[in-house]
Symmetry: C2
Subunit: 446 residues, 2 copies
């Protein structure tokens, strides 16, 4: 086709995926060479996450914060983004009364620590205020004051991709200035309308910014702001920075955040969020070869081929000794079997992953690649019966482990062999990217 | 699992997919019962699509408008959204000089009509101005004036989901008022910053709106605005409504548009756009049973099962007579074969689709469901050889036809049979939704 040069993956376009994915503990975020030096915060920092939206305003069946991404509710991703930051001491999630049980279930199921659930109020400010009050030690004494955080970070439950680096900037600026907030450039021109619905005037875009989250405050500033503000503020206001300015005279420091700070608002944002999560989970895989020279040759060829598809492949003989660490950090595994249609190696891998509870937060992909040989007595005889892998995959799926199979035959015809390897790479890359539960247990042909 | 009630598809959440998908001719947009009465526009309307962005500002390798979605550049979707509207007479696409050939190739390849390509200027306003000037008849005479449109609609190349209904509102308001523009509520609070980067004040959100596209103008208003505006406007301005107000005294009528009008800006927006397109293409499928009673029974069961997955299934015996119309409007076909592992029926279907050039604009999914019977001499003997479907799928893929196979066996055990049917439904739904080119030719097991 003449248009090949324009037929490109959208992946080639501007990435706004997090450089250090907020959905992972920092230690798992891929190449450590790019990791910024950890910066210490020597004062107590707490987080308030208002998650009280009932979805009524947008007519949702489910509030966005409870919508599932790869089987896990959005709020859990956001909680995790804060939990992984060592200098954040506790997280108060404020939810509608009717969601208290659900939120408690989520915290238990995904084994979140540092988290307390607090009932929300009838408006956003009332909910945030409840969260802030829940952070203050009881009473007025010194002991109570000692329990209070120095800085409170307020964030939205529906902005799951916040990074430690940016939280650090907000916390430091809040401590210094009393208040700090994330901003982004405006995407659209902002206009003022007449009451009749006509253009009154347009604002000069360069002078204004969109106010986003997270925002940070010293405990004293945010506490005072909520003590002094009016019923009308509680009822109609939305902007904490405004209260800090009006009631404490604090001009917040504004810091430009990355585009990934955006707020999941419309249905299209759900697809966008899922895509960012999938991208992050499909950056690398680990291929286990055993001792077979043929398997190593295949693995090396695959490494090159999936590399061209923007995925890094780590080739290892087994998961023993030092290599066992992959069980703690990798989200995708490929097990190569040569001339042996037994699934025992894959079974062992699945057992190891299950023992580590590896798939608690994200589904883990396991691909069994079966390499048959041309010089076997009969090609047909070497064909694997699909029933074994189907059963194994059904059981693994209950543990959030997604098992797929790919079968290929060794060929002495170089061209034919290279085509097969390329096919395995394409299928592998698609399976890892899509993480489709409907296709587990399938034995695909390369 | 105790959390089953929160594990839901994000599809259950607020749909912001177009009610009448802009990516299809209206006649193909599903149930005609929901189609609004066509409203006539009795004056000439033209469109200017500035598509001159080079992606430099965002550091893209490819400008967004040329990024591919299911193999087709975004700009082609946007052009199609206007082309399908009967009362729009012509479309001027303004692109950077270095993209003229690419844009011409796109128009030829996707067989767009009504479209002219014009070279852009160094800024957004210069490009739009070039487009508007290209619409004016040459010279000053009456003949020249007769060529000019009454109303010019200006839209962004990177907002592909614009609907006929909304274009109608803009065109009518523009004719009446001289200018009209789409608006959306602000998602974030807008704040003014001091030069030092501190909060100056925040705007009252309710009084302001985001100015979006499309915008409409009478030819006279937009022509005069560009004649009178200054070099500084050309250099730094972005908002056409502002020029109409400042130089022609025209207060534009503002009309709230649907959320799908949003501008594809960040990488996450590419994923969101792709998801909207895929959703729209996977609303329904057509299942062809032939005359076999077993096939009809399977089809009826599948209809119910995929219905529960939010996909409509039309059961038909063949594609002859009236049913041939499905070849012109359906994006997904399922061909059932009973006890006959020959691919001849599927081959015929692929030939028909190819003859209609059906997959010109979107990849068409064809799923071959092979139903084997338990009482055949040997289950193993009834297994289909995968090589036939692999070759057929490779050839079909070159025509943008994505062929997959699913094999299931009839069972007299009701529970076992129902499980198989459910599995076929799940796989079918996933294949249609994902449209994965990497998995074509695979014979999956249900």
């Amino acid at each position: 086709m003449a248009l090949n040069h324009i037929i490109m993956q959208s992946d080639n376009c501007d990435p706004d995926r997090p450089a250090h994915p907020g959905i992972f503990p920092t230690s798992e975020a891929g190449k450590s060479g790019h990791k910024p030096a950890e910066r210490s915060v020597d004062f107590p920092v707490s987080v308030v996450l208002p998650a009280g939206g009932t979805g009524e305003r947008t007519g949702l069946l489910t509030p966005k914060q409870f919508c599932s991404f790869l089987g896990r509710p959005l709020i859990s991703y956001t909680v995790q983004a804060f939990e992984r930051v060592s200098w954040i001491q506790n997280i108060v999630v404020v939810v509608a009364k009717e969601s208290m049980d659900l939120m408690t279930d989520i915290i238990q199921h995904y084994q979140h620590r540092k988290v307390r659930v607090v009932p929300g109020g009838s408006t956003r400010h009332r909910s945030i205020c409840n969260g802030v009050m829940a952070l203050g030690g009881e009473g007025e004494g010194e002991a109570a004051a000692a329990d209070r955080p120095k800085v409170v970070i307020i964030h939205d439950a529906v902005r799951p991709f916040v990074e430690e680096d940016f939280l650090y900037k907000i916390a430091m600026a809040a401590k210094e200035q009393g208040a700090a907030g994330a901003i982004r450039p405006l995407v659209s021109t902002v206009i003022a309308t007449t009451v009749e619905g006509y253009l009154d005037h347009s604002l000069e875009r360069a002078k204004y910014r969109a106010s986003e989250m997270p925002q940070g405050f010293t405990y004293d500033v945010i506490y005072q702001a909520y003590q002094k503000c009016t019923e009308s503020d509680f009822e109609f206001g939305t902007e904490c920075l405004h209260l800090a300015l009006q009631y404490c005279g604090t001009n917040a420091k504004l810091i430009q955040g990355p585009p990934t700070l955006w707020k999941v608002t419309y249905k299209r944002d759900l697809a966008a969020a899922e895509s960012i999560i999938k991208d992050t989970l499909s950056q690398s895989a680990c291929i286990v070869t055993g001792r077979s020279a043929q398997a190593v040759t295949l693995a090396d060829a695959l490494q090159k081929a999936v590399g061209a598809l923007n995925m890094e492949l780590e080739v290892i003989p087994d998961l023993m000794g030092e290599n066992a660490s992959y069980l703690l950090k990798e989200w995708n595994f490929i097990q190569v079997s040569v001339n042996c249609s037994s699934l025992s190696e894959v079974e062992a891998l699945l057992r190891d992953l299950e023992a580590e509870n590896r798939a608690l937060l994200h589904p883990v992909v396991v691909i069994w690649v079966y390499l048959g040989c041309q010089d076997e007595p009969s090609i047909r005889g070497s064909r694997v019966e699909p029933s074994g892998i189907i059963e194994l995959a059904s059981a693994a799926k209950l543990q959030n482990l997604l098992l797929y199979g790919i079968q290929l035959h060794h060929s002495k015809d170089t061209e034919c062999w290279e085509r097969s390897v390329l096919k395995v790479a394409e299928i592998t890359s698609a399976l890892i990217r899509d993480r489709s539960p409907a296709l587990v247990g399938q034995l695909l042909q390369a």
